[in-house]
């Protein structure tokens, strides 16, 4: 019987203990793999989403700029407003291709357990987000409404239907429905900016201005000019991306620290399992040595058991991570700032290999001392049962 089969047989003989050890390693590896995959996926999907928006700079009311920008991008409501006169000043600045104002207003419906989000826009928003496609038409009159694709499904409404706002006693004609974008745009009710200002008693106010530049490289220069406008806070998309990533980075460091502790506990679990096995099999090991087994072989056997145990845990953990990754992703996204709609978990082969390599090192490390202890056993003492 070769060394590998012998080691495997020894592990299988202690089924329960081996299974518990494999499970504990598996869980630790699943978490490690998910955290590493998440980091890469989140960064690239966030970058993609921001680039896809075609927005280079946002002008928002003075306050917490990143929270406000994130809320505008995600469709949330912020309590501060910009005077619409800011829009005229922004549009005078050279180098700006499109400046699209938006007024966002949320209608909270606690008795229905939800919030409807209305976006007051003008045609410049559709020029800015030129990937948006409407089934129907853009606003032809002040009481037209365009529904995001999710809203259309939720309200069972299509072009030609009517939508009523009970809170403001206003009826709108659905002039169009947005085709699904897979972004937050799917969840809005779009109405003309001037109508939104009138209906929500916010005349002369806007929530923010999304800006596309003729040359994205000029973002810093134009941002400096925009900062001179009173009451306006300016944020470039690269700043927003950096802040989002650094926020996530802090969380990631915390999670990684916890994962390292879990892995350390798992390593001790492997160490304990193998060490107990060596003590229990002292007599068997003594006989092996007494009947001519090389001490090197004994060392290798025990070491191999440790490595096999760790690798089995590693594979189990990777399988668990792959199966559970979508579920984990759903939970993680709920807590993320500016969570992209696309997948934030990137299952890359290099992370797979890195995780397995890590488990190999754990197996080698955890098995070294028990293997060393087994190899230096004295057959006479082992056989006497000492």
């Amino acid at each position: 019987m070769n060394l590998f089969k012998f080691a495997l047989k020894n592990l299988v003989q202690r089924k329960t203990r081996s299974a518990i050890t494999v499970a504990s390693i598996g869980i630790a590896i699943a978490v490690l793999f998910t955290v590493l995959s998440f980091n890469q996926g989140y960064e690239s999907s966030l970058r993609n989403q921001i680039q896809k928006m075609g927005i280079h700079i946002m002008v928002i009311p003075i306050g917490c700029p990143y929270e406000a920008a994130s809320l505008i991008l995600k469709g949330g409501e912020i309590p501060n407003y910009l005077p619409q006169s800011v829009l005229d000043e922004v549009r005078k600045i050279d180098g700006i291709e499109i400046a699209a104002p938006v007024l966002i207003h949320g209608i909270v419906k606690p008795d229905e357990g939800r919030t409807d989000i209305y976006a007051g826009i003008d045609s410049s928003m559709f020029r800015l987000k030129n990937w948006l496609r409407i089934d129907g038409e853009f606003f032809c009159k002040s009481d037209d409404i365009i529904l995001g694709s999710d809203v259309s499904l939720i309200e069972l409404s299509k072009t030609g239907d009517q939508i009523y706002l009970p809170e403001y006693a206003r009826t709108f004609d659905v002039s169009g429905v947005l085709r699904p974008t897979g972004t937050e745009d799917d969840g809005f009710f779009y109405i003309p900016l001037s109508t939104a200002q009138k209906v929500f008693n916010l005349e002369g106010n806007i929530t923010g201005i999304s800006i596309r530049l003729k040359d994205p490289a000029a973002a810093a220069r134009i941002a400096r000019r925009l900062e001179n406008i009173p009451q306006a806070e300016v944020i470039t998309m690269s700043e927003l991306l950096g802040t989002m990533l650094s926020l996530v980075g802090s969380v990631k460091t915390l999670i990684l620290s916890i994962v390292i502790i879990i892995i350390a506990i798992s390593t001790f679990s492997v160490f304990n399992t193998i060490l107990m096995s060596v003590f229990e099999r002292a007599r068997e090991i003594g006989i092996m040595i007494a009947t001519g087994a090389n001490r090197g072989h004994v060392f290798s056997l025990i070491w191999l058991e440790s490595v096999l145990l760790s690798l089995a845990g590693g594979f189990a953990g990777l399988a668990l991570a792959i199966v559970a990754s979508r579920g984990i992703e759903g939970i993680v996204k709920k807590f993320l700032p500016l969570a992209p709609k696309e997948s934030v978990i990137s299952l890359r082969p290099e992370i797979f290999l890195y995780t397995l390599g890590f488990m190999l090192i754990v197996g080698i490390g955890a098995g070294f001392y028990p293997a060393f202890l087994a190899a230096r056993q004295k057959p006479t003492e082992s056989l006497r049962g000492e």
Binding site: K109, E112, G113, R114, L153, I154, E155, L156, S157, D161, Q162, I163, Y164, L165, P166, T171
Partner: protein
């Protein structure tokens, strides 16, 4: 397209189970049953309903309500197209153990954006459904008075949702 239809089917969530359970059945527990229907069952449902089911309606969700472990009734929800958007209807019903008939215990509107919002949710309109069975007629204007003048379409949407839930339950859970 398939994805859209699946989403469509799962849109009507039960938003306030605790509140509805307490108000309708004075109960505090339920078990969810997701039931698929066969082609024969679909044909039977459509025959009794007098209308075709939506293409996405291939399975239905019922909440079996219990009080102290004993079954006391059933709740189901339905999303209907009203005049100004969707209407989410919650129906609580019981099955009479003697007559083996399914009877409505209460109807609630959990979401709507109708002009007759208050009337549609009022007891005057909703209490008309209490005691009705799947064999009763639910014709608005004849068997059911509309919630308000001009709210015929909204009222009919609610009546149709209630009728559909009752018929579907009776076909999928035939009385023993």
């Amino acid at each position: 397209m398939i994805w859209v239809l699946v989403v469509f089917n799962s849109l009507c969530v039960w938003r306030f189970p605790d509140r509805d359970l307490k108000e309708i059945f004075n109960a505090d527990a339920y078990e969810t049953k997701l039931v698929s229907m066969s082609e024969e069952q679909q044909a039977e449902i459509e025959k009794h309903l007098g209308a075709e089911l939506d293409p996405d309606e291939t399975e239905f969700k019922f909440f079996m309500v219990t009080r102290k472990g004993e079954p006391v009734g059933v709740v189901s929800t339905h999303l209907s197209k009203g005049q100004y958007g969707a209407i989410e209807v919650v129906v609580g019903f019981v099955r009479d153990t003697v007559g083996k008939t399914t009877k409505i215990k209460a109807v609630r509107i959990q979401r709507d954006r109708e002009k007759a919002h208050a009337a549609l949710r009022g007891a005057k309109f909703l209490d008309q459904f209490i005691g009705k069975t799947p064999r009763n007629k639910f014709q608005v204007g004849e068997d059911i008075k509309p919630a308000a003048d001009g709210a015929e379409k909204s009222s009919a949407a609610v009546a149709f949702a209630v009728k559909k839930i009752m018929i579907v339950y009776d076909v999928l859970f035939p009385a023993e």
